[in-house]
Assembly symmetry: C2
Homo-oligomer: 287 residues x 2
DNA sequence: GCCCTGTGATACCTGCCGGGTATCACCGCG
DNA sequence: CGCGGTGATACCCGGCAGGTATCACAGGGC
């Protein structure tokens, strides 16, 4: 039973994502006919119909959906193998110079915790160099999977820990951030229902995987935008306690009674075997 | 940044495992020179030295160790993609005919639980066909990773749940299985220390990944052997409560007070999105 | 009805590279 | 000092990945 080449997976994923041979070929930097042929060969070798060719583009079959998911995972794994091997390059003597670690953190989250973690780890004897990779919301999982990062700080319930090993580091509640002058800002506590149904303050919407869910609130993509919009009295946000550190004078934070608690985890690929990583996790567990 | 082809990974893993170009080439069904060249190209492309060539075979460098691990994972992912896609082949209409599920179970473990699970799931409306794949101890993880199975029953602490999603189904204690006539068989309970240090009954040794750890006990590879050796008064075994179902008249089971509890989990690849799998997990959770 | 546009499929050619055979360079060993 | 066994090198060849040109077909204007 012959095994799939990553080239074939790359091609298929491109076609499946673009839903269009021509655009996929362009993205891959090649002509369309060889792409067509490669996909046909792939279908023949798998003995499965992956795409439904219509006039006007293509659509995935059930098997195609499966291969899209599994193929992405396999491509990530191959990319991770290359990246991690390259980074391990210098350290030839086994057990000798421990490599650097790349730690993925959502930008502007967990200041405090991150600082404590880095300090605690740096104090350990023989600790490796830690490179902090700041990323967007939810990007940590992809970074870990494709090897751009070795370890990440993740925040449930926003991040999914599926497929990773992890250790919980801290739990915090959530607060509603309101314009200082707003009537609700005077309250001692609020419920989620309170902030969800304020007609003059629709909840801001973050992009998930590059697209925005439909809704009335403004579309934002960074914390500065959010802060400004709140200060202008245009929106309200629900954020973890620790976000209080970046609030403005024009903001008021009110604790939410029924918001799910936010748990910060340190997470890493389940099969990881790095000494440096083990040390970092140990340091984290002692916090 | 060019991506590794699975062909290259296959070659490297073979060489790394055999620690010998000639044998690796034979295993791959090719001649040695192209293999040599392929590995050199790989090293050049990664900019990393993977192998230390000695007279008398080769040894892995640190980077080579990394690539061996990561490469195996990537190869498993690619194999899984192919297998799962092939199996999804018939079901073309999305959401339509749900595919079969392959459930990996350690042979002869969890009779009772397995029976209940299969019955409960079969009673669900629209349940898929379940193929039970009996495997050796610890083999479930590999089967899930490379796509030969979709879901497995695993038993901690023997199986590692790292990298999988799982749900605990049942917990049980462990018992020592002794020859019926043995002095210890008269005891009400035993401790691990009791059975570990019986000079005339050395603990039997199971192979892990095909090799046996050194020790005084007999080397066994299936339960029948074990049962026979215990009946002959040559060894003692520590097994979960539920294993009592296959004991012989010549055996006596004595509860262990300090053995770690055995938890049976249902586990599946973290990124899985199959409807049928979701149904099975739901049925399992209701047990 | 017509052609025009844009889709994926086909035909055919070419150059590269993966793989084979023969051989070399090295080294430990009897 | 040959001999066996290691991986590396030299060289050749065939297949296949990729390119160009073109086709078949379906809509959509006019």
């Amino acid at each position: 039973m012959d095994t799939l080449e990553t080239r074939e997976l790359r091609y298929f994923v491109a076609v499946a994502e673009e839903q269009h041979f021509g655009r996929a070929a362009e993205r891959l930097g090649m002509a369309q006919p060889p792409l067509s042929r490669a996909i046909q060969q792939l279908e023949r070798r798998l003995g499965v119909c992956l795409l439904q060719r219509n006039r006007r583009g293509v659509r995935l079959t059930g098997a195609g959906e499966v291969l899209l998911h599994e193929g992405r995972a396999a491509l990530d794994a191959a990319a991770a193998a290359a990246r991690r091997t390259r980074r391990a390059g210098g350290a030839d003597s086994p057990g000798g110079p421990r490599g650097r670690l790349v730690l993925a953190v959502k930008a502007a989250a967990s200041h405090e915790l991150l600082r404590k973690l880095l300090d605690a780890y740096a104090a350990e004897p023989g600790s490796a160099e830690i490179e902090v990779l700041l990323c967007g919301v939810g990007e940590q999982e992809e970074l870990l999977r494709d090897g751009r990062a070795d370890v990440a700080l993740m925040h449930t319930p926003w991040n999914s820990l599926a497929g990773f090993d992890s250790e919980a580091l801290a739990t915090e509640g959530q607060v509603a951030v309101l314009p200082a002058g707003h009537p609700l800002a005077a309250r001692e506590t609020l419920s989620l229902a309170d902030v969800r149904d304020v007609p003059d303050l629709p909840l801001a919407r973050w992009p998930t995987h590059g697209t925005y869910a439909p809704g009335p609130g403004p579309e934002i993509h960074n914390q500065t935008q959010l802060a400004q919009l709140i200060a202008l009295g245009r929106t309200v946000a629900v954020v973890p306690d620790s976000a209080r550190s970046w609030l403005w004078a024009e903001h008021t934070a009110v604790p939410l009674t029924d918001a799910p608690p936010v748990v910060t985890h340190i997470a890493w690929p389940a099969h990881s075997r790095s000494l440096a990583l083990a040390g970092l996790v140990r340091a984290a567990a002692r916090l």
